[in-house]
């Protein structure tokens, strides 16, 4: 009996450790900090639009935005693209070989499934919270915005978790932590929505070049 519990506890810790490498803190000048997740090894980071609220887009940004990597480096960052409607933003830092997160399939999420969220709750580095998926998809009756897809999970998101990863039990990214719906319910943007956002953002960039 206790072996099962120990295994469970160790497994959860292992997932946390694995994900921590791809977790970054997004520092938005005086406006406080949020979290982000390394999407691509060449410096592409996904976070929430509200984490970089007030920061101008593009390389000529305000210079106020930096990203703190898990290896301790703090790099200047700029906003590549943002989508306030889905509360998503893509950031870029000048770096290579960053530890990326494995992407999961948020369309396959089921109520009852375990998930883990990481971020910087109240500024605490790598603060983790775990729980189960309450429901996922569009038209969750209790989430304010019924027009978009969400993941609602029974865990404790706090200020500073925003933009950080929600992962499944294999450490695969399934959502971007976005808001709390009361103290005991966390709401995330499904990773397939983030994928679509990045695809569109990249396509726009290519046409400009």
């Amino acid at each position: 009996m206790s072996t099962v519990l120990q295994n469970f506890s160790n497994d959860l810790a292992a997932v946390g450790e694995q994900v921590l490498r791809s977790l970054v803190q997004v520092r938005n000048g005086k406006r406080g900090a949020g979290a982000g997740t390394i999407w691509h090894a060449d410096g592409l980071i996904i976070t929430n639009a509200h984490v970089v609220d007030g920061i101008r887009q593009g390389r000529t940004g305000d210079g106020a935005l930096t990203v703190l990597l898990s290896d301790g480096r703090e790099l200047p960052a700029y906003v590549l693209a943002r989508d306030p409607e889905h509360d998503l933003a893509a950031l870029r830092v000048d770096a290579q070989n960053l530890p990326t997160i494995t992407l999961g399939d948020s369309r396959q999420l089921q109520a009852g499934q375990f998930v883990l969220c990481l971020g910087f709750p109240w500024g605490v580095t790598g603060g983790a919270t775990s729980g189960i998926v309450i429901d996922a998809g569009a038209a969750l009756p209790e989430v304010r915005d019924p027009h978009h897809e969400w993941i609602a999970a029974s865990l404790h998101l706090r200020p500073g978790h925003s933009g950080g990863p929600m992962v499944d039990v294999q450490g695969r990214l399934v959502g971007i932590n976005t808001m709390m719906n009361g103290p005991d319910v966390g709401v995330a943007v499904p990773v397939h929505v983030a994928k679509a956002f990045l695809k569109q953002a990249m396509a726009q960039m290519y046409t400009r070049v």
Partner: protein, 297 residues
């Protein structure tokens, strides 16, 4: 890494999926719908009394996506339970587990269906205890408290144990601020009584009452500041047969003080129906002891 976390996660989502057909949406109030549990394959649904705000035009959302009409069979406000009959058959009835088979620390899932899909939250049994009485005077067989999150619309839904059996009906209104479930034993009694009689039996006196302040000397003598004055006594009622009169002030019933209306209502439970109990009154400034046989309301 072991397979434990993956196995556990898969087991929980499978449990939720398997329980899905037993959980229905209850549309019986203006705002957001609530949840209910299938009691019998013939369409008997159990839910929380406080989510059934209207007595008709009740709809039940089934797991297959269909919506059917339902009628209110009866309710027990004291234990916050209501029984509905859905116009459906061949439903999947829930299986139940007695609170005596649970222990503090057991994993529990709270499920609900406020929308189309089944939703779930996870917790453990936080506290288990013996019989208790709700503020509304309902007798509950076991105190069953968990730390599951009561998501909006979860009232009336089931609290499941790790084998998928229903340990109770979740209610957000029994005790504010903590997740307390009405245990299976209490649910069973209420459903069987409501199906047989349409309601829960309640004690009845046949009086109109008003709390009044007792004279200073009586406050000292009786160790209570207020009592309940009979503003009216119905003819041939249990109170009239017990020779209680208009203007009498009831101070205790069955040995219990009745300082407020709530305290008398709490005493008029089903099990006191038919019992002859002592009633202490103040009449013309004098304390008198009478007896009254509690009727059925």
């Amino acid at each position: 890494m072991s397979e434990t976390l993956q196995t556990l996660s898969d087991a929980m989502s499978s449990l939720v999926e398997a329980a899905g057909p037993q959980i229905v949406r209850v549309e019986a109030r203006g705002r957001m719908a609530a949840s209910g549990v299938v009691w019998s394959s013939a369409g008997v649904i159990i839910t929380s009394h406080h989510v059934v705000e209207r007595d008709d035009n009740i709809k039940i959302g089934l797991a297959d996506g269909s919506t059917v009409n339902a009628t209110l069979v009866g309710r027990d406000p004291n234990t916050d339970l209501a029984v509905l009959k859905a116009e459906a058959s061949n439903l999947t009835a829930a299986t139940w587990v007695d609170a005596n088979d649970l222990r503090v620390g057991h994993l529990m899932l709270a499920l609900g269906r406020p929308g189309k899909t089944v939703q779930a939250t996870l917790g453990i049994v936080s506290a288990l205890g013996g019989a208790w009485r709700t503020q509304a005077g309902g007798d509950i067989d076991h105190y069953l408290q968990t730390d599951v999150v009561m998501y909006p619309g979860f009232s009336g839904g089931p609290l499941l144990d790790a084998s998928g059996r229903v340990a109770g009906i979740n209610s957000s209104s029994l005790v504010r601020g903590v997740s307390v479930a009405v245990p299976a034993a209490t649910v069973k009694k209420a459903v069987e009584t409501i199906l047989a009689h349409g309601k829960m039996p309640r004690g009845y006196l046949g009086v109109g009452i008003q709390p009044v302040r007792l004279a200073d000397a009586l406050q000292q003598q009786l160790s209570q500041e207020t009592g309940l004055m009979f503003m009216s006594v119905e003819a041939d009622s249990p109170a009239a047969q017990g020779h209680l009169l208009q203007g009498d002030i009831l101070v205790t019933l069955d040995g219990q003080p009745v300082r407020h209306v709530d305290e008398l209502q709490t005493l008029l439970t089903g099990e006191r129906v038919g019992k002859t109990v002592p009633a202490r009154i103040v009449r013309s400034g004098q304390v008198q002891d009478l007896t009254v046989t509690i009727g059925q309301g």
